[in-house]
């Protein structure tokens, strides 16, 4: 059904023409009049404009807007019913049967479909770029809050990871592995032609008709300096020709964190046993509380589990579409309500969209789309490092510490006497989750409008004016009874943050399009110019120390925190000219060229304008004589493209030397304002440039029952936007410059097949992509950039894990004596590391460094598979996807395997080294010797932190049943059950989510140069829902 309505619009005129032609033919009719209704499978919607003809004759008719036709035929005649995008059906006319019901099935081949491309659309057969599109209908049943979750596993060359389970957040989309050193790496989202600046997740997925993902430079170059990360085009719903449709789509269900996959921590008894052994091994007296671990047998406190709940999720959408006379309207009203699996998480979205197109005359069209929505989101400070994330903190809390007291009340905080080795005070994290407020309220408005004028045949002049408004309010508060920080005794200091962000982005585009076909030459010329401007106003007040926890207003605070209180403005502007020529000869030799010129306020005055050209060619081999009518190969196309695109995600004022005028000082206890230059200017600063070559082919077999696509790409990103570290003797930490080069290349395979047709229909789509990257150069004199446990180095892929290589633990005195070691620190049973530089001593950092690359956060390949089954009224779909061969850095082991027993520990630490005769599993070393010994394995990043995180996840299984016998008011009805994140297959043991893979949660060591860090984020639940989809 993809893009069907677009096609219907296009072909309506031909349909009407044909209809009139047929009326004149009708007079030839003889014996019996046959009436029928043509509907589409499986939703049983009427198909207007379908052609019904009698085989072997010139007799025929066209269905009306209700899908009804009437034709005079003789019994024994064969009726041929056809419509674009559907498999043609033949029905014999039986004597006396005057009412036919014909259900058209989607055709296997989608080559005639229309694909949305930048600034227009193309017939799929003639597309020369690497574009993949997906219809909204394919994604409709999935019970998730974000669009990206729906796309997981369906797109070749697009890696989509869910880095956290927080509702509405954490989706990371990387097209063709694109990465920037410091600029953004998310694709550009374009909604109805408008590149948006706000959160794509605030858009109700039910409003979406179609999503096109532009991957190669030829497809994206028309978006110029914003195109390098790929472009996602989203088209919202429009009415279908001649129809009025009311659709109700509801689902409700629940989410739960499965036991399987959780990070296995010690329970109270195991922890007490560990502590007992710890003191025994150190030959120190065992604190009384740990002398009898069995006493904790039934007194376990699972702090992680205590934060979780089974949470409801529900969604209600009402869609009204109408396309009659001169008005095409669609309205979508949606309510999405999700509680999170971590207590006190709440995500709600109320959305409305009203799309209207009005045809003033044959020459003039206008249209207005208005889509306001309201998103409320309260998520406890769940994710992040110690001090920030309560999930991380909960994992660390001793399981012998009570969650609830004898009366069943939540404890305030726990702190054991110092002789137990308890260092930190542990606030009650359940209380923290319940009592901390961390809410964001967003009010968004997306409005697009256009005026189109066709002064002469084939020429269209279109002017658009689009506005995006976002207002977001953030409120954080912790009363004196709760905190997200570890080692805070309760009562603590009550604090609050209030932040308001208002942004407005407007865009004006003016485009002229001329298309014509002269003999065998078809061409389209497009030219336009546009202006876009963005402004963000930010207000923030941070305050603390309150007399009363109930009133956390700014004025009730004793302190207004100066560092956290500010207002700020962010602005940018972009002026562009662009043009494209599309040419085809006989529909088989295809050529496209485009160019965009972007002037951006973000770039230095000496480098303000950039030109981004592209070209692509295609050759439809199957239209050539030598392949025409080939019984096996039904379609074959070769395509290739080249183009240059840019990335302008560098912040708005990076080119300027900025003065910080709050570098204040005290003189004699009087606050005195001070100022300092805090950055260096660079008038030459420009965009990142990526030149990309793509070559691929599309091939169809057996009447396109099997189709196969392949793409190879190679791209070089140069002039990387990077804050180059400079010696700080300069007084500055870095200089914003365009440096270095990264090469990306990859292979993408996609196969669509229909193994069975007929009553039991099965379609399958599978894709696999291999992405690689290599750093070709960095700045002059710099061949590597270090992170805490990452390195980005010339000749290697980006962001590799870097540290010491673990060989095991020193097995005994002889092993210790004969192996390189750390003078004064290594002991029997402590971690044995590889002496990379063979100097006989293990050294971390400095000139005798033994560090090496210890893991790769990037997968060898990513893959996805989706299956659709139809049997009679039943339908079923299964979608799965996975990453293979990537490693994760278990950052949380730093403290969750602290062998000094400071925190609760991973269960694997039970099998640590205790003596040469009891060496354990080999993962964790001896506890004897204190921080001087145990500190090596936790403080020095090493391969013990790096684990394979390959996974395959069954994303979604949906089972539906469509009812056929229905009351008259209901046109169709379908009930379904859907399960999301059904199963994760992985050997990764560091936590519930192997997809944290691309980076950490933006906290701690996050960022492009340090991907693949696990800090134990918000878990991704399994969701089970039941829904109904009813058309009136």
């Amino acid at each position: 059904m993809k893009n069907l309505q677009l096609f219907r619009v296009k072909f309506r005129f031909f349909g009407v023409l044909f209809f009139m032609l047929c009326i004149s033919i009708l007079s030839f009719g003889q014996t019996q009049s046959v009436r029928g209704v043509v509907t589409s499978d499986p939703d049983r919607e009427p198909v207007p404009g379908a052609i019904v003809s009698i085989k072997g004759t010139q007799k025929g008719t066209v269905t009306d807007i209700d899908g009804v036709f009437s034709i005079t035929a003789t019994p024994g005649d064969i009726l041929v019913v056809s419509f674009v995008g559907f498999t043609t059906q033949e029905i014999a006319v039986v004597s006396g049967q005057t009412n036919l019901s014909i259900n058209l099935v989607n055709s296997i081949s989608d080559l005639s479909e229309v694909v949305v491309v930048g600034y227009g659309s193309q017939i799929k057969k003639e597309v020369t770029g690497a574009i993949q599109s997906i219809g909204g209908a394919e994604l409709k049943d999935m019970p998730v809050s974000t669009i990206a979750q729906k796309l997981q596993g369906r797109l070749a060359g697009v890696q989509i990871n869910q880095t956290t389970g927080q509702p509405g957040r954490g989706m990371q989309v990387r097209i063709r592995g694109q990465l920037s050193v410091s600029g953004g790496s998310e694709p550009l989202y374009v909604v109805d032609g408008f590149p948006i600046t706000g959160d794509i997740n605030s858009i109700n997925p039910d409003e979406i008709e179609d999503i096109s993902v532009l991957k190669d430079a030829a497809s994206t170059a028309l978006y110029g300096s914003r195109a390098t990360n790929g472009v996602v085009l989203i088209t919202t719903k429009k009415g279908k020709a001649g129809q009025t449709n009311v659709n109700l789509n509801v689902f409700t269900g629940f989410q739960k964190v499965p036991m399987r996959g959780r990070l296995e921590m010690m329970n109270a008894e195991e922890f007490a046993q560990f502590k007992k052994e710890y003191y025994e091994d150190a030959k120190r007296p065992v604190p009384s509380i740990f002398q009898d671990p069995a006493q904790f047998k039934d007194k376990n406190n699972d702090w992680y589990d205590a934060l979780l709940q089974t949470a409801p999720i529900s969604s209600y959408n009402l869609t009204l579409t109408s396309n009659k006379d001169r008005v095409n309207t669609s309205a979508v009203v949606g309510i999405f309500d999700q509680k999170g699996v971590v207590v006190n998480t709440d995500y709600k979205r109320f959305s409305l969209r009203l799309n209207t197109d009005y045809k003033i005359s044959d020459k003039v069209n206008i249209g207005v789309n208005v889509a306001p929505n309201y998103v409320f989101d309260n998520t406890p400070r769940s994710d992040g490092d110690r001090g920030q994330g309560i999930i991380f903190n909960a994992l660390h809390t001793w399981p012998v510490m009570p969650i609830r007291d004898e009366k069943g009340e939540l404890t305030l905080f726990n702190r054991f006497p110092a002789e137990t080795g308890n260092i930190f005070a542990y606030p009650n994290w359940v209380r923290s989750a319940q009592e901390l407020t961390n809410e964001t309220t967003r009010l968004n408005l997306l409005a697009t409008s256009y005026l189109e004028w066709k002064p002469i045949k084939n020429l269209s002049l279109k002017s658009t004016f689009n506005v995006e408004l976002n207002n977001s309010r953030f409120f954080f508060s912790n009363p004196s009874t709760a905190t997200s920080a570890i080692n805070q005794a309760i009562p603590t200091v009550a604090a609050s943050i209030r932040e308001t962000n208002n942004n407005i982005s407007w865009l004006n585009e003016n485009i002229a399009t001329y298309r014509n076909t002269i003999n065998d030459h078809s061409f389209e010329v497009l030219a336009g110019f546009s202006n876009q401007r963005f402004r963000l106003d930010q207000y923030r007040i941070q305050a603390d120390t309150y007399a009363d926890d109930r009133i956390l207003t700014s004025q009730a605070a004793v302190n207004i925190n100066r560092g956290g209180t500010f207002n700020a403005v962010q602005e940018w502007s972009l002026t562009s000219v662009f043009s494209r020529l599309t040419y085809s000869y006989k529909g088989k030799y295809l050529f496209t060229a485009s160019a965009r010129g972007d002037g951006s306020s973000r770039f230095g005055v000496n480098n303000r304008w950039g030109i981004f050209p592209s070209t692509s060619v295609g050759w439809v081999l199957s239209d050539e004589e030598f392949l025409k009518g080939n019984p096996t190969i039904s379609f074959a196309k070769l395509r290739s493209s080249f183009g240059i695109t840019g990335n302008n995600n560098i912040g708005n004022y990076t080119q300027y030397a900025l003065i910080n005028n709050t570098v204040n000082v005290a003189f004699g206890n009087t606050l005195t304002p001070g100022a300092a230059v805090t950055s260096l200017d660079n008038p030459n600063l420009g965009w990142e440039t990526t030149s990309q070559i793509d070559a691929g082919f599309d091939i169809g077999f057996l009447d396109d029952r099997i189709s196969f696509n392949y793409d190879y790409f190679t791209k070089n990103t140069t002039n990387l936007l990077y804050a180059v570290q400079i010696p700080q003797e300069s007084g500055f930490t870095n200089f914003n410059d365009n440096i270095g080069e990264i090469k990306f290349w990859g292979h993408e395979f996609q196969i669509n097949a229909v193994p069975t047709t007929g009553a039991f229909k099965w379609t399958v789509n599978a894709n696999i992509s291999f992405n690689r990257n290599e750093v070709i150069s960095l700045a002059d004199g710099i061949d590597r950039v270090y992170g805490s446990f990452h390195i980005t180095k010339v000749g290697e892929p980006f962001g590799q894990f870097y540290g010491l290589q673990k060989l095991g633990n020193y097995a005994n005195e002889a092993d210790l004596a004969n192996s390189p070691k750390i003078p004064g620190r290594s002991t029997v049973g402590s971690i044995k590391l590889q002496d990379i530089n063979k100097d006989g001593v293990i050294t971390f950092g400095g000139n005798q460094d033994d560090r090496t690359i210890i893991g790769n956060p990037f997968p060898d390949f990513v893959y996805g598979i989706s299956n659709n089954f139809n049997y009679k009224n039943w339908d079923m779909s299964i979608v799965g996807s996975g990453n293979h061969g990537q490693d994760l850095y278990m950052r949380h082991l730093y403290s969750l395997a602290n062998l000094d027993g400071v925190f609760n520990m991973v269960r694997k630490a039970k099998d640590r080294f205790r003596s040469p005769t009891n060496p354990g599993e080999g993962i964790f070393g001896t506890t004897v010797g204190g921080g001087n010994v145990t500190g090596i394995e936790r403080d020095w990043p090493n391969s013990n932190f790096v684990w394979d995180a390959s996974f395959f996840t069954i994303r979604n299984i949906t089972l539906g049943y469509t009812f056929t016998k229905l009351p008259k008011a209901i046109r169709s009805a379908r009930l379904y059950a859907s399960a999301q994140n059904v199963l994760v297959f992985t050997n990764y043991w560091g936590g519930q989510n192997p997809e944290v893979s691309m980076q950490s949660n933006g906290l701690g060591d996050g960022g492009n140069l340090s991907p693949g860090v696990d800090l134990g984020p918000y878990p991704v639940p399994r969701t089970i829902t039941f829904g109904a989809n009813i058309n009136f």
């Binding site: 700020a568 030397a657 900025l658 003189f667 260096l680 400079i726 004064g824 000094d900 001087n932």
Partner: protein, 503 residues
């Protein structure tokens, strides 16, 4: 055609206004293009140059200058790892590899001092091109020259040869410079200070807390003494003593600024200004100079804050038995400088632990106090002068100055006679008078007494770890690499060495 003309016109208008449309100046932040134009800009810029002093004295200054000496040590807490950055300084095991070290405190000293230098360079490079009141301009220039010289004086004593930045860096090129010879750095320091002296007003006419002529002269004298230019030092200091701007406070305890009072008192020549409160101008060094762990009650009894929190980790700058023993009997400074507290969380039977008292004062908020750090006090002016005189053979005059300091401490006149004895007496007097004021390491290294003092100090620690606050826990003993790095100068910070092509 008319319609086309309109479109053409719109097109034309768009492009002519293009450069304006594309020039977006930051609205809520100043940029260099519009700054350094008025007197006010320069006043604020010189104020900004003082700001890093807070971080320097709250951290690296005492870590490199006091903990790295025989005056203070750390209190080992075996539950904590990742404390080697402070430990390495205290027990003279700063790792060195090809002349560089990963020690984070060495790095932060380097970076903080150069931050001051770059801010001073910014002021000095632009101030002469702007016309404004000459007195005000001279005052600002004098402060900038002082702060630059001050920073280089610390750098050159830490690292000997350092890059000499005298103008703002233009961009990536020029951001790193070759190492300048020690003598060249000292020449620049003397030149800057000699220029600063006449530009700066006396303390009585300067805003309290800012650099004064007296401060510039004292710093210059300190530089000369380091260079053993004794008569130059005497000449620099004489006007300070005769100016009438300074005097010793009546008691030693009163010499030190309190949280909000007694700042920039009559004895103060130069002190780093802190201010308590939420404005980010506070210090928390009192909390770093404590034995850990401390309970809420113990913290409360020390500082009487409204929101005391327990403290954990490993404490530093704990007075050693050596400094405690260095006070002569009857020295009033001992009890004013050091006090004993009970640390209930300390393993073993000995819970009584000495801490530095001289800076202690109550304050309102946990980890947030406004106690200024005394950099130069008049007492030191007297001791510097005594040293300068003694080294020129005027031992009698020197003893007179020395006795001024001793007499306030409740001690009788020094019995030292002759240049050698007086030299030793001054050296000892400096240790107790200026204890915990980050003078000790510089005194030891500039007088060439590292081997003589630090080696036996190390032997005492290794022989009696319990006396030096190691817990009575098996294995909790000094690491086997202690007292292995007795170099006069610190290695260069590795993180800077990685970036700079010159070292």
């Amino acid at each position: 055609m008319k319609k086309y003309s309109i479109i053409f016109l719109i097109l034309l208008m768009t492009f002519t206004s293009c450069e304006d449309f594309l020039t977006v100046i930051p609205e809520t932040q100043l940029s260099s293009a519009t700054y350094f134009k008025t007197e006010k800009d320069f006043v604020q810029a010189i104020n900004g140059a003082y700001a890093p002093l807070r971080g320097y004295y709250n951290g690296p200054a005492w870590l490199l200058g006091e903990l790295h000496s025989d005056n203070t040590f750390y209190l080992r807490n075996v539950l904590f790892g990742a404390v080697e950055n402070a430990e390495n300084l205290a027990d003279f095991s700063v790792p060195i590899s090809n002349g560089t070290t990963p020690n984070s405190n060495v790095l932060s000293a380097w970076r903080t001092l150069y931050l001051i230098i770059s801010r001073c360079n910014q002021v000095l490079a632009t101030i002469d091109s702007v016309e404004f009141n000459a007195d005000s301009k001279n005052n600002i220039k004098g402060q900038a020259l002082f702060l630059r010289a001050f920073s280089y004086f610390h750098l050159v004593r830490y690292f000997q040869k350092v890059p000499l930045h005298l103008i703002p860096v233009p961009g990536r090129d020029g951001s790193g410079l070759p190492l300048s010879e020690e003598a060249a750095v000292f020449d620049q320091i003397s030149k800057d200070l000699t220029a600063a002296v006449p530009l700066l007003p006396q303390k009585s006419t300067q805003l309290p807390g800012r650099v004064t002529q007296g401060a510039a002269r004292t710093l210059l004298a300190d530089v000369f003494i380091y260079r053993k230019r004794w008569s130059d030092a005497e000449q620099a200091l004489a006007p300070v003593i005769s100016s009438g701007q300074y005097s010793l406070m009546p008691s030693y305890a009163l010499a030190f600024p309190k949280n909000s009072t007694n700042k920039n008192n009559a004895e103060s020549v130069f002190e780093v200004q802190f201010r308590e409160g939420p404005d980010g101008l506070q210090g928390n060094f009192l909390y770093q100079h404590l034995p850990y762990p401390l309970t809420v009650a113990e913290v409360k009894s020390l500082f009487n804050t409204t929101n005391p929190q327990p403290l954990d980790g490993q404490g530093n700058n704990i007075p050693t038995p050596d400094i405690i023993a260095a006070y002569e009997p009857g020295d009033l400074r001992k009890d004013a400088s050091i006090m004993n507290i009970t640390v209930s969380g300390r393993p073993g039977n000995n819970k009584i632990t000495p801490i530095i008292k001289k800076f202690q004062d109550a304050h309102a908020q946990h980890q947030n106090h406004g106690i200024n750090w005394p950099v130069y006090r008049y007492a030191e002016v007297l001791l510097l002068m005594a040293e300068a005189l003694n080294e020129q053979g005027k031992s009698g005059d020197a003893v007179g100055l020395l006795n001024q300091v001793r007499s306030r401490a409740g001690l009788g006149a020094s019995t030292a006679a002759g240049q050698a004895q007086v030299r030793e007496a001054i050296f000892k007097e400096r240790r107790v008078e200026l204890a915990f004021e980050n003078k000790r390491w510089f005194d030891i290294m500039r007088t060439g007494r590292i081997q003589e003092i630090i080696v036996p100090y190390g032997q005492r620690i290794v022989a009696n770890p319990l006396n030096y606050y190691f817990p009575p826990i098996p294995g909790a003993v000094p690491r086997n690499n202690v007292f292995t790095n007795l170099e006069k100068f610190f290695p260069y910070p590795a993180a800077e060495s990685e970036i700079s092509p010159f070292f």
